[in-house]
Every structure is written in C-alpha cells, then in structure tokens.
Assembly symmetry: C2
Homo-oligomer: 311 residues x 2
Amino acid sequence: MDKQTLIETHQRIKLFIHNTPVLSSTLLNEMTGAKLFFKCENFQKMGAFKMRGAASAITSLTNEERQKGVVTHSSGNFAQAVALAAKQLNTKAYIVMPENAPQVKKNAVKDYGGNVIECGATPEAREEAAVRIKKQTGATFLHPSNQDEVIFGNSTAAIELLQNKPDLEVILTPVGGGGLIAGTALAAHFFGNTCEVVGGEPFEVDDAYRSLQSGKIERNTTTNTVADGLRTYLGDRNFPIIQKYVDRIIRVDEEEIIRAMKLIWERMKIIIEPSCAVPFAAVLREKEKFKSKKIGIILSGGNVDVTKLPF
Amino acid sequence: MDKQTLIETHQRIKLFIHNTPVLSSTLLNEMTGAKLFFKCENFQKMGAFKMRGAASAITSLTNEERQKGVVTHSSGNFAQAVALAAKQLNTKAYIVMPENAPQVKKNAVKDYGGNVIECGATPEAREEAAVRIKKQTGATFLHPSNQDEVIFGNSTAAIELLQNKPDLEVILTPVGGGGLIAGTALAAHFFGNTCEVVGGEPFEVDDAYRSLQSGKIERNTTTNTVADGLRTYLGDRNFPIIQKYVDRIIRVDEEEIIRAMKLIWERMKIIIEPSCAVPFAAVLREKEKFKSKKIGIILSGGNVDVTKLPF
C-alpha cells in the first residue's frame, strides 16, 4: 500500500478507462461559498467509477488466471463494470445476480458480454452460487469493494482529480461498501497536499459512521434510502484504510440527498444517480465549515432509471 | 455578412460565454455507424446557446444605447439569456412575458436581474408591451432569432466546434425561429471544409421545411410538439441565409424526439431539453445516409423541468 503501487495501477488501467472531466459551476459555488470541483465518474465507461476497480482487478491477474475468467455477485454498477472490463480484456465474466433483479440490469450485463447466473434473493444464495462457479470454472472471485486491487483502482479517480487540481483542501466521496472512500483516502494521502478526505453517508445506512465510532465493522439495521448504491457495509480490507486516512463522515437525510441530486441535475445539466449526490448534500449541510475551501467531489456514477426519479 | 464579422463577433463575446465542451459517445457512434461530435450548449451560461446571441446583440450597442437598456419578449431561453447578458454588461433588461407564463420562468429571469413586464397572452399584447417599454425607456429591442447580431452570435457555437473538429462533413441543429441554423450555416460556409448544414424539425411544426419548398415564410397551423422551443417561425433576416446555405431539413415525429432525448440522457448522462434532441433524432431517422460520416450536432440547451419529463 505505497505510492508506487497506485502509480502502477493507474498506468495499467489507463487504456481501459476514461480520464473523466472535472467540472465546476458558478451557481453552485455561489450557493455554497466554496470552490467545488466535480470529478465526473458518471461519464466513466459504463457510467460509474466501478470501472476503475474492475479494470484494476482483472489487469492484475496472471494470464493463466485471466483465461479462466472472473466471477462476482452484484446487481449494481460493479456487475456491469466487471462485464465490460472482462470483455475489453478478453476474459469471461460470470455475474451472479438475484433472480428478482430488474431485467434491465440483467440485460445491461449481457449487453456488455457478461454471463448472468441467476440465484435466490438472499446473500447466502448468491455466495453459494459464486463459490459453485468458482469451483466449476476456476474463475477468480472479484469483490465490489473489499479487495486491494479494486481499492487501488478506485484511487485513480482522485489521483486524476489531484493532477488536475493539486491544491484541493478536501475531497468528498459517498460511502457504501467503502471501496471508493478507501481508494480516495490513499490517493489524497500519497498525492495530495494535506488534503482531507470526508465521506457522505445517508442517516438511514450510517454503518460507516458508526463503525468509525465503535472501532469495528457495524452493519445496517435499515436500508431505507434513496441512495441504493450505499446499502452495503464495510469490509476488513477497506475499513483499516478508512480508520487511518479518512477524517470524518457527514450524515445526511433523504430530503437532503434528493435536493442535492436535483440541484446538480438542474444547475450542471448532468445526470447523476442518488448515491452520487450524497457528498454534495454533505457540503450543503455543513456549508459554514466548507466555506471558501477548494473542494473536490467524486461524482461516483450516473446509472439511474430516468423514468423513475425521486423528484 | 462576411467572415470578418463573425470573427469580430466571437472576439467581442468571448468574455461573456463559455467555450463549451465537445463530447462524443462510443455507444451512440456504434448505434448510428457515424462519428458524432456533440457541441454542448446545454452547458452554456444559463443553459442554452441563446446566451451567444444575447451577448452579441448587447455588446454591439453603443454606450449610449447600452445605458438605456434592452427590451425583448420571450418566455423561453432568450429571456434568461438577455437578462444574464445585460447583467454582465451592466445594462437594464426589460423582459415582456405573458402573465400566464410559468412562475419558475419569471423567477429565473428575475434571478438573473431582469425586469419582468407582464402582458396578455396574445402575440399582439406582447408586441404592444414591448413597443410601450421602448418608448418609455429608449431601450433597444432585441429579437430572439431574427436579428443579424443575434444570428452572428449564434454562429460562434459552430465556429468553436469547427475549430475543435475542422473536418466535419455535416453539422445539424434544431430549427425553431431560424436563428441558430442561420448562424450555423454562416459558420459552416466561412469556417468549414465543404461542411453541409442540415436542420432537424418536428413534423408538428414543419414551417421551415415548407418554407424552403415554397420559397416564402410559412407559419405553423399546429404547435403540438414536445419540442417547445421550436414552435416559432422564420423571419426575414434569417430565411434568406437558410435558403442560401442550409442543405436540407429532416422532419421527425414526436416519438422519435422523445426516444432521441432519452438515449442522450441515458448514454451520455447529460441533460438536454426536448428541442435539443431533434437533430439526433434526424440522424437516427436517416441512419443510412449519415453512416461513416463525421457529424457535428449542436446540443442547443438543457433547460427542462426535470419533474415533468416526456418519458
């Protein structure tokens, strides 16, 4: 977990990802009194930062491993990311998805060339299915957030952001499984100039906030949030990084998330998914603390059903 | 109407507009078989290309004229554009709007510092009101589309696009009042390398298509289109330019517009208004003719009520 590893990871995946643009908005700067720089991973390949972790994990395999393929369980962005990265790298991708997952998500994975394996709707069923595929095919299991190569891949969004804006005082990301904020914290530590890292998390799934307080990985008792990408919990690979390098986590309520999402849509004219709005909601909530600061925000993704919006 | 005028216009307004980004999408290229370059005027100040025409018109006034202010009637993007450009140039803006215009549009003009003058909901009432303001204040009347300075200002979007992609074979724009396509046609003529200009127009308001056929300015009998920015008709300043320099107009139906809009939202993760989707709908409609070509599309604007979408 040193600087060189992150540099090598970035070099290794550069051909398979976009160096996404950094946007700013006069109106949102005026509204917050801060200088905001949005790293637009909603414009990333397949529409989310998860492409970076997936590309990193697959490019770190040996040729022999790569021939046998990769397997993951996800019904979200990581499923599409693994399918697309595997396709680009000429690898088979086995994606375990619950049978009740929306058909549109299964189709998205298939469109990217992934093999969808359906399973029951419980965590046990999906793990069983993944283990079975692994045994049958020799495929390597990839975890959406709790795997070093994935975390290193995720770090490259903040590395690019800091290359573009070296004097950022703070970078914010959403906190779900912990893979994005852990990678971002490593990037800020090794590439920033005393740059803080702050997480945004919904009150409804504030496991990371509570984990940092208790010192052990907490689970969520409810998952009643519009930020559907953040309903997961931390893991043993990313939690120590978060403990060491993340400054704090700001919790926001559902109305704040929806308001922040709508503001970014209306003012910046870009499409972001609800989870992606959480860090900006955190800045709005603690406006006074962020005033006058140069702030980076990782816009994590833009995969949202535009016919089912929360506003 | 020479090249030098367009160059001078661009120089004059540069400080007051964004040089908006040009985006492309692998997925949309694959879908059409063409190479598409989208000039993102939805990211322009106040969210639409109209900012260019408004800035051009106001910067072309004498100091004396500018002190007396400007007046226009519009309930759309031009109203906001004039208000914002006038504010930047320290000029008073009088915007005549029908009393039944949505409050959100009136507020947007006021937010930019414009003076809203309400009038009856008929074309006669708004013209009367504009004439009255002109008499009372000595303000200069600005037309949203049928005024040389506005047309020259609009041309700068295509000039920037051609500076970025000099070998475009065709540029498409929507056709409403005719100001954008006329400016684009001038830019393609003076700055392009045998670059065609093609308009996209809804069947429901195909006045420009019929005008080119009949040789005189036709009006619309219905305005029943989702592309609310295109319900107007051509004028005596822009029609001759369109006759001389526009190659053809492709008409599209309402379903095609909505499908094109949704595709751009979902695949490019950017917000465009319905009128803005019309040229891409035209490319999809005549896919075979555009195949393998390098195509520029002016994305005209992104001001849409995100709580009232057509899909």
